[in-house]
Amino acid sequence: MDDEMLVEELRALGRSIPSPDVAPGLTAAVLDRVALVEPGKASRWARLRSLWAGWVWRGWRKVVAVVVVVLAGLLAVPPVRATVADWFGIGGVVVRPMPGPGPSEASPPPTAGTGVTLAEAGKLAGFAPLVPTALGKPDGIEVSADRRVVSMSWGSGEKTIRLDQLEDRLSPYFEKQLHGTFELTRKGFWFETPHELHVVDSVGQAHMEPPRTAGRTLVWKTETRTFRLEGALTKDRALAIADSTG
């Protein structure tokens, strides 16, 4: 057998190992233990070592503080002790099951802007965006403000189809708050029911865009990239589009 096949099998094995439960009292226990300590104050050595980092940091702090204040006003911060054991993710998307009934309908996804070409978008994001041949040339292409996501859209109004792709697998980018269920397809996860979509930054803070209700969506990933296809789609059509993407 070749390496590629073996690697794919190992990845599949990894995906099939269930995520262990996080201790329910973890957050509270950590907070109790750090309550009397200032962050970053471990030892004299650590303080000395971080002195330089501190100098660099202070230069940025004012800028960051302004941004944080603005963002804090936009956000509803979820409860501190929310359970996390039942979260799961695929690539840059994390799914958080929610209790109770969810939104009953979703608006079509927003169309992408037309300001950049495919090549320019690739340059900005640092990777070459893939275009599904099943959809042809996109009507709109845009790059997120933080340059992590390239989005494309086809059509408009009720018929809009939108494809988001990102390479950053280090931290989730989208958080889906799901009240219903989802389906594991041969390609990835298929979400049939409307759900809330949040955009999050690299440390897990929801940011910049207000959450919106997303409709039917297929999320899949390759070795380095996560794709999120949303819009007026049946599952089969979404899968066909996914198959035609690179």
């Binding site: 190992l10 190992i17 995520s19 300590v37 970053g40 980092a53 940091w57 594991l184």
Partner: protein
């Protein structure tokens, strides 16, 4: 977020904990913390908080945190070794406990893979765990394990070669065809080889501890 934490906002740190706890827990378990994974993760978050002053601004928080988790797991192994000489570092993942909804592999194939991974040396098992089971990229793997990237590359390639040799005698029992096959639900094989864990310790290069 980090600005708020550094300013003493523990609520912001709670958010960070909430967000990163699942991957931290998964890393601790897969690197072999076993029943102590909860303690390892709690300790790692406390140490991360105390160490935030040394956290390079603009760096990614997650690999940094996972590095602490990996170190805590290693410390745990050291104290276990002191106590009981040696315990298997690989978690007791059993093929029958794997998630049957991930249908990419047959139960039999999972058991084979698990057994083969168990037979790897510590370093090879770690690199395969981080790179493929946890699905970190090469740079993240290097950061989490504290090895140069070149070492990650070479150990990974040797680990794959060893796995290939181990698995080479067997036909591929489950085809990678998620969603179409119901192989995941058919008779689950039992992982074996657990007792062999660590028997090849020492055959990996130790040039970058």
């Amino acid at each position: 977020m980090l600005a708020r934490v550094r300013a003493g906002d523990t609520g912001a740190y709670a958010e960070l904990v909430r967000w990163h706890a699942p991957i931290a827990q998964r890393t601790a378990v897969l690197l072999g913390a076993g029943a102590d994974a909860d303690d390892v993760v709690q300790e790692a978050f406390v140490k991360a908080y105390r160490g935030l002053g040394g956290f390079r601004d603009g760096a990614a928080f997650r690999p940094w945190l996972l590095r602490i988790v990996a170190n805590e797991t290693k410390n745990l192994h050291r104290s276990r070794v002191r106590r009981t000489r040696r315990e298997a570092a690989w978690p007791e993942v059993d093929a029958v406990e794997l998630d049957p909804s991930v249908q990419a592999l047959s139960a039999e194939r999972r058991a084979e893979l698990l057994a083969a991974i168990r037979r790897l040396s510590d370093d090879h098992r770690k690199v395969v765990t981080c790179r493929y089971l946890l699905d970190l990229d090469e740079q993240e793997t290097a950061e989490v394990l504290g090895w140069p990237r070149g070492t990650v590359k070479s150990r990974l390639s040797r680990a794959l070669a060893k796995l290939r040799v181990q698995l080479g005698d067997h036909p591929v029992a489950g085809k990678l065809d998620a969603g179409k096959s119901d192989a995941g639900r058919s008779g689950a094989g039992k992982a074996d080889g657990g007792n062999d864990a660590g028997k090849e310790v020492g055959d990996g290069r130790r040039n970058a501890g």
